[in-house]
């Protein structure tokens, strides 16, 4: 993916007579764009196959802004990200299609709200080694944005529950839980464990 982005960026840079630094920026932007498009294409195809497109779309509509504002853990390579991300998005989107009682959903919604508010206080913005956030003003701003996002999310999910659209409300709860999981320390722990295990397997294969 990185090589493809480099080639595209070089072609773009040559056509537009851009400098070295500008080509590096194109490479980074194109890499993020290509990865996002491929991930979304795979997720949509699988969701379509599993007949859970609506719940997966609602899941993504919550997962994306929460992750964008709150940050969270990352894997070390794109193939791992594609596999894990697809399983998470398609799996939780599909799971949101199960039948659920209104009171169970309300309980789950309340617990997720408490968890979301706790994560705002304790963990957000969840930065990474490659892109640390040290500015206190940015941290406070991200916390405020996340609070607004959680308030909007709760209101919409409560309205959907009130009108009996339980699976759509559950998909919203899943979206929030998925993103909070990656923001929380146990999300960092899990992704680190996946990376370590796969690195060890790779090392073992290389040594064999």
């Amino acid at each position: 993916m990185h090589s493809l982005a480099i080639n595209l960026a070089k072609k773009l840079g040559n056509s537009l007579h851009s400098g070295r630094e500008q080509i590096d920026i194109y490479t980074y932007g194109l890499e993020v764009l290509l990865m996002t498009l491929i991930t979304l294409a795979v997720v949509f195809c699988l969701a379509q196959l599993l007949s859970s497109t609506a719940t997966t779309l609602i899941f993504l509509a919550v997962f994306a802004p929460f992750r964008s504002i709150g940050g969270g853990s990352h894997l070390s390579t794109y193939p791992r990200c594609l596999l894990f991300g697809t399983c998470l998005m398609v799996g939780l989107g599909y799971w949101a299609g199960i039948s659920i009682q209104p009171y169970t959903l309300l309980g789950l919604l309340s617990l997720t709200t408490i968890l979301a508010l706790y994560s705002i206080v304790k963990w957000i913005p969840a930065d990474t080694v490659k892109r640390p956030i040290t500015d206190e003003r940015i941290k406070s701003r991200q916390k405020l944005y996340m609070l607004l996002a959680v308030c909007s999310w709760f209101t919409i999910a409560a309205i959907l529950t009130r009108y009996g659209l339980l699976n759509y409300a559950l998909a919203m709860v899943m979206g929030a839980l998925g993103s909070i999981f990656l923001i929380a320390p146990w999300g960092y722990w899990l992704l680190e464990a996946i990376d370590k295990t796969l690195n060890n397997m790779k090392g073992g294969e290389a040594n064999a």
């Binding site: 990185h2 960026a9 773009l12 056509s15 537009l16 851009s18 630094e21 500008q22 590096d24 920026i25 194109y26 490479t27 980074y28 932007g29 194109l30 890499e31 993020v32 764009l33 990865m35 996002t36 991930t39 979304l40 997720v43 993504l60 997962f63 994306a64 802004p65 992750r67 964008s68 504002i69 940050g71 969270g72 853990s73 990352h74 894997l75 070390s76 390579t77 794109y78 791992r80 990200c81 894990f84 991300g85 998470l88 998005m89 913005p125 990474t128 490659k130 892109r131 956030i133 940015i138 991200q142 990656l182 992704l191």
Partner: protein, 43 residues
């Protein structure tokens, strides 16, 4: 005419790539759980 249109399309692509790359606080990594290496000029 064709050359002009090609240049416009490439410029639009370049603007989009630059915008995505420079948007702050991981705004565009909505659906990916991987952080590509940032170019030195952006650090």
């Amino acid at each position: 005419m064709l050359r002009k249109m090609q240049l416009m399309a490439l410029s639009a692509m370049a603007i989009m790539a630059t915008f995505i790359a420079t948007a702050n606080a991981s705004s565009f990594k909505w659906f990916i759980i991987y952080e590509p290496d940032m170019p030195d000029c952006m650090k």
